[in-house]
Symmetry: D2
Subunit: 296 residues, 4 copies
């Protein structure tokens, strides 16, 4: 069989750990590495090989996957992959980073005889655990075909959206949409509540019409209860909106609602809500509207 | 049988005409009136009684329905209903108007022994034709129960959201959400396209994740083709956003994204796109971003 | 002499009382009326005739001046002026109201043989006391010429800007500019402070360059001290921004920064800062930025 | 005498050339260098020594001044200054760049025994020609004192605002204010015009009240004429607003109006108006409002 069998998995956080576990469940040989060791030990109990570092993890690997917080983290690990990886190794970066950085790494990988995909994900911790992530993939068609079985072990929707960097561009569009829709849902809910209307039937009827969206479906109950337990943290979404703004600037695209949503997400973070779920935007609309339930 | 049987239907525009037709299909006796007579004649061919005016239409009616463009239109017809209506007549206003005006009319109706519901709809021309509208109803529970079979002949989701005016408040929240989501989808699509990424797979993968929403599902294909044939016109959505802003102001609610979306919708209208579909917001993001495809 | 000599002055609040006092100082005969009587008594001590109502005040007057909080207040008093005023009486409304309402009152005044000017002011309590207001006047040139000496007793800059309603339009533009500049100065000051830079020399050098403006000149010291004693109250500026938005909507003008400033002013009010000076926008930028000095 | 006498001047664009000329007029020995040679020749005619490169220019210099377009330009020249400069050489960077980059260069300069100031300017080409710039200086007090006579040969307001990077922080605040005020003035002017009011008296009376600002004083005449000849180019202001947003992000400050102004400036650039004066924001409000005069 020609498909990939040995996977190196770098980055075992809230998303990475269950994604690696799904690869083990699908029968892949997985070497795991994380800066702090606890997660690697838990995956070892499921059959993973705990590696001593990036170089050790990629030894003999067909595919190396990275799931890391930010662009510089990925760039640092990428240098180690370049140094240690055998020709033909495919690097699938599933972090959310700057599209330009993805393109640059792919170009350098090609010079060294390696292959690279950007394959960021949407769907949150629940999607990672259930293997039901949406994965937006940028890179060469042949490389996507090669990696597809691996990606499908982690996600239910795997779409090749274009050349290197395209996956990250679409992820940026995703983060713009999600932040903006959360803020709009927050404004709509507070408008309904402050007008003296019970928000529960309101949310039900809104979800059934043209305004319907997945934030209303999945997050409105928590929002109505002002339960902002993450989920996806304000800090990370704020970081992603920095990528969105830079991508829009690079492409010459005007995103007034996106830019304003980024300011409001930044305000949450500055006020110490960086560790709350991004739906904490609702608490901020509460506070701006002088309503008392806005504490997370 | 105690339920309503004779309906007066005032306002036979793009929405009203197919709604009245669905009442006829459901077996109700329907008297119709419209300022310009063509639509009434077409409904007469389906079995409606063409009335000579509001007073004539409501003669003997159990329920009078209004589907009119704006608050002053409804207020003017309401005066005629008050003058001509028999005690117990139920007025269901299915227009989109100011919640405060709905409350005021309901109070006056009660003084005169009439009953009133505000029952605005979401779902567009297609929903009106298919009898699949979402209907958000404000008023007394007993009156909602009385009118429910009539409303269910026009809509698939009929939710009693609270006392008089509540239906309009939830409709305002709906219009805020729809305008904002269209603008966000427009910003996301132009970001993807201007970054050199094919938007079709991008839209597909976005629709599958947390960013998923009904605008992406129903409107993205038309948006990608820059086909802004209405559908729901910019002029009407702009009018509705005026109601949204007034409702937010009255309730003391801060809606920064909603206010900005209202400005952008108003800009479309000022530029002569008032007759285009509200998804023409995409053409405006195109123009602001210096891209050539933005003509409707 | 043909010029006006007898003035009726309706509305003796923070602005109206010192304006009436300046008319007395200039030698005019002034009849004063205010709903609550204290201010009229104080002006009587300066030589004014306390009137028992609007009709009594305008008896024998050449000019009647109104300085009232909002459009409906002016419209109510205007009805009394129409009923009681002799032909030729000139009504100068110096309140800040909707330009369309001004135009409508001027048209009705003309039908009844009265004359009307809209003559709103800028310059605050200090300008009112010093007789140094900026007065933007809309109406017929002959009427402006007739009233000019009266207006110049209250203001140092009296400019005829156009036909009826024009004064209010320019006042709306003024209120848009002032709110927006205060918010921008607030953002700039917090940016400087949060970056660890002493804001006092910063404000000095900013005031000397292209960014220089009267808010920096007159208000920055109070802002740096977080002293939000009014001055001009958030409540009133919020009311005025409602007029601005309605005027922009009526004229088809897109004002994104104005609309966002209006939301931020409304947020201040909703949070209970309606009685603070409008520079309390700085406290809100503090709070949104997680900084501790934002309490007024 | 202990003060600086020999100056190296790198960057002879629209601002740099007249600034260097003023140093010559004040009696300093000035070595000049510019990537393209024409400007250096013109300054040679005024007594400057044309240098063959950065290293040649700084040979024997007491102070080296840089006036360059963007952060990377300054960083590249700074490396050459570090390599060629004698101990004690003071580098005054008068470009507008990222405050963090200024701080980093100052730290490296100190390690190598050099001194560094950030000293960006406000006042435009006219201020540069007249020696009337506002100069906001960050760095050590002793270094500011040493360089002050040199700076005062170019500017009428020289304020030491704090440690390294502070000058750039205050310049960022300046650029935020200027962009925002231009947009607000544009919104106010179009509101007045579209309401049928003559903008010339309106601008006059606005300039006299609390809304008064230097954009109204210096730029309104050109704006009313839709003359967008630079002046300060949209491209450069857009670059500067990128610095503003990054500085605000780094400091955790929420700047909603600033962020929206940045989007609007970016839209101008994307539409091909990058070479117009930044007051071309008025043309954009015209276009968004469907008015015909908005072409530059």
């Amino acid at each position: 069989m020609d498909g990939p069998q040995r996977i190196a998995f770098i980055g075992l956080g809230i998303m990475g750990a269950p994604m690696a576990a799904n690869l083990l469940k699908a029968g892949y040989q997985v070497a795991v590495y994380n800066r702090s060791p606890g997660a690697a030990e838990r995956l070892a109990a499921l059959g993973a090989r705990p590696a001593t570092g990036v170089a050790d993890a990629v030894r003999g690997a067909d595919v190396v996957i990275t799931v890391l917080p930010d662009t510089p983290d990925v760039e640092a690990v990428f240098e180690e992959i370049l140094a240690a990886g055998a020709p033909g190794l495919l690097h699938a970066d599933m972090s959310t980073i700057d599209p330009g950085a993805s393109r640059a790494m792919a170009a350098r990988a090609a010079e060294d005889g390696l292959r690279a995909l950007d394959a960021p994900v949407s769907g949150g911790e629940q999607g990672a655990i259930e293997g039901a992530l949406s994965i937006m993939v940028g890179g060469e068609a042949a490389d996507v075909a090669y990696a597809r079985p691996v990606l499908e072990a982690m996600g239910s929707t795997v779409v090749h959206v274009g050349p290197s960097g395209s996956g990250q561009t679409v992820k940026a569009a995703n983060q713009l949409l999600v932040a903006g829709i959360i803020e709009l849902v927050a404004e709509a809910i507070v408008l309904v509540e402050a007008s003296g209307v019970d928000p529960e039937p309101a949310v039900r009827v809104l979800a059934g019409g043209l305004a319907g969206n997945r934030i209303l479906d999945r997050k409105a109950a928590g929002m109505l209860a002002r339960d902002f337990t993450p989920g996806f943290r304000v800090d990370l979404h704020h970081k992603d909106l920095g990528i969105v703004l830079a991508a829009a600037r690079a492409a010459g695209v005007t995103i007034p609602l996106g830019a304003l949503a980024a300011q409001l997400m930044g305000a949450l973070r500055a006020q110490g809500h960086g560790g709350s779920d991004h739906t904490a935007l609702l608490g901020q609309v509460d506070r701006l509207s002088g309503r008392g339930r806005g504490t997370s």
